[in-house]
């Protein structure tokens, strides 16, 4: 990736990270941990990789994203707002009665949301169905889906994994947000995923593993996923839960936590101070 593009995307990622902290901070409670770990991938997808139109969210032939770990919705909302899908001031309405931005993604509430998610494992199957439908119509579109590592405990994920491989859905690029933590603690202590890439390989997927906070590495992996053209692709992103949010990163209990607007401002200031 060229330097200028990388700088542009890094700046966008910084913006989205700050916006997401403020968005959840305005409410005072939320899934900050898993929201921070998907900032880079969502930035890359919406500001470079995906063919989308903020003025025509249901544009035919668009690329689609199913955020199967639907609790990371706030990051996607910040991304979509920055991209112009809806007014920025919607972000301060997160989870308030009558909002267009519910905690978990809802295709009927928010412009730019392609599928309703929240009950873990279900979005992944839906993404497979979307990829199948688009292929049936010979659409050039790609379908991206992001699942959590905790979500990978769900049996439905593996049902869908077998099916997508059997159908050779090469228009599907899945990503695992492998931040090594789930709600109750570290994945290795709750339900060890052990050799996750080997599992996906065994299920017949094209598997890569990259640093999920390295935009250039993510971009390279997506390019390879699209180029191979034979199988569904799984990119396992090594990430950090709470990444870049000073009061949350490193906490075991950062899955869903309360914090004050003061804490949010401090975290945002810290991010700005570290800006290149």
């Amino acid at each position: 990736m060229e330097r200028a593009k990388l700088d542009y995307l890094k700046n966008k990622a910084l913006e989205i990270r700050k916006m997401t902290i403020e968005e959840i901070g305005t409410l005072g409670v939320g899934h900050i941990g898993g929201a921070m770990s998907v900032v880079e991938i969502l930035t890359l997808l919406y500001f470079d990789r995906m063919r989308v139109d903020s003025q025509n969210p249901r544009m035919e032939d668009r690329d689609q994203l199913v955020l199967s770990k639907g609790h990371a919705g706030p990051t996607l909302y910040a991304t979509l707002a920055l991209k112009g899908f809806f007014p920025m001031d919607w972000l301060s309405t997160l989870n308030q009665g009558g909002t267009h931005l519910p905690s978990h993604c809802d295709r009927n509430q928010t412009p730019g949301i392609d599928m309703t998610t929240g009950s873990l494992g279900q979005g992944f199957s839906a993404a497979v169905g979307i990829a199948l439908g688009l292929r049936l119509d010979k659409k050039p579109s790609h379908v991206y889906t992001i699942i959590g590592d905790g979500e990978s405990d769900e049996g439905q994920v593996w049902e869908a994994a077998l099916f997508a491989a059997h159908q050779r859905l090469s228009n599907l690029v899945a990503l695992t947000d492998y931040n090594k933590q789930q709600l109750d603690g570290f994945t290795k202590d709750i339900e060890d995923l052990d050799d996750l890439p080997a599992k996906w390989k065994a299920f017949g997927w094209f598997v890569q593993r990259v640093d999920g906070h390295d935009i250039a590495a993510l971009d390279g992996a997506i390019q390879q996923a699209l180029d191979q053209g034979e199988r569904p692709s799984m990119i396992i992103m090594d990430t950090i839960k709470g990444k870049g949010c000073s009061f949350a990163e490193g906490l075991v209990s950062n899955h869903n936590m309360s914090f004050t607007m003061d804490q949010a401002r401090e975290a945002i200031a810290a991010l700005e101070a570290g800006r290149e």
Binding site: V66, D106, R107, N108, D114, M115, T116, G118, S119, G121, Q122, G123, F124, S125, A126, A127, V128, G129, I130, A131, L132, G133, L134, L136, D137, G155, Q156, E159, A160, L162, F163, H166, Q167
Partner: protein
């Protein structure tokens, strides 16, 4: 008489093939029960629009939801026990809550599961489905109503649960009969007793009960409900105004299904007559022939007759 009955699964599968010829968006999903459901006909006709997800019902409903979001009209079938209990969350959220267009078919309802036994015998699928907001729930009573309601499902946007036995059942309606969601059919008039029945098994038992009662001079009406939700409240209230005795009849738990829906309606509309619910009396299923189970669980015409007389 030739052609006096037909396999319901054949009515289902043939209608899909017919629909698929003109509507390229019709897609069919199975979870390794294609041979049971009979949708091999569709697979043969349109192999690219048929998907077998293997023994993975949750994924089948999720994939159907995804297909629906791309404009496809998925018909996904499995035994009714799995279509309800096993994939309730998937059908509830990915399909219904997401306001998509998924047609879920539950076969072998209630005692028609027969030799598959209690593990496969859904007495609760309608109760589960009824609480899903805006879901259309239909149980056709003969091959023609089956075909018509499958067609209506394809033509109407929104999720539908179709409860269909697989076996051959008698024709009740002529070829040109029209059916629509939310409309019951009065199969037999009567002013002493009203049987409000759902599904081919119970509608036929109610018709037989009506004949038995007629021999004793008791005139029993039979209403074929066809759509459990939205319920044809007008037709039921009209019957209730005419008949001092009203009995619901379902191949399902009396809790949460037709009997409950009718009781709610009667209570709210000030019915002053007598009312009973014939159906499964809060029991689990068990194995046996369908004929044995119909008697074992008191779904037969004789039970309907006894209940009707006891209320008069």
């Amino acid at each position: 008489m030739a052609n006096e009955s037909k396999e319901m699964r054949l009515a289902y599968a043939e209608t899909l093939v017919e629909l698929g010829a003109t509507n390229k968006n019709i897609v069919v999903l199975e979870a390794d029960l294609m041979r049971a459901t009979g949708t091999g006909l569709f697979q043969k006709a349109y192999p690219d629009r048929f998907f077998n997800t293997g023994v993975a019902e949750a994924n089948m409903v999720g994939v159907a939801s995804g297909l629906s979001s791309t404009g496809k009209i998925p018909f996904a079938a499995t035994f009714a026990c799995f279509a309800s209990r096993r994939v309730f969350d998937q059908f509830f959220l990915s399909a219904n809550y997401a306001r998509l267009n998924v047609k879920l078919v539950g076969t072998d309802p209630g005692v028609t599961a027969a030799y598959n036994g209690g593990t496969h015998m859904p007495f609760e699928d309608l109760a589960l489905m009824r609480v899903i907001p805006r879901l259309t729930i239909v149980e056709p009573s003969d091959p023609r109503s089956c075909a018509a309601l499958v067609r209506a499902s394809a033509e109407t946007y929104g999720c539908v649960y179709l409860r269909i036995p697989r076996k051959a059942v008698p024709y009740l309606y002529p070829e040109n009969e029209k059916f629509q969601f939310g409309k019951a059919k009065l199969l037999k008039k009567g002013s002493d007793v009203a049987f409000v029945a759902l599904g081919s098994l119970m509608v036929n038992e109610a018709l037989r009960a009506s004949e038995i009662l007629a021999q004793e001079g008791i005139r029993a009406a039979v209403l074929d409900v066809l759509t459990l939700k939205p319920l044809d409240t007008g037709a039921i209230v009209a019957l209730a105004q005419e008949c001092p005795v009203l009995i619901s009849a379902e191949n399902h738990q009396i809790i949460g299904g037709l009997g409950s829906a009718v009781a709610e309606l009667l209570a709210e509309t000030g019915y002053r007559g007598k009312f009973a619910r014939v159906g499964i009396q809060d029991e689990f299923g068990e194995v046996g022939t369908q004929d044995y189970l119909v008697k074992r669980f008191g779904l037969d015409a004789e039970t309907l007759v006894r209940r009707a007389k006891s209320l008069r």
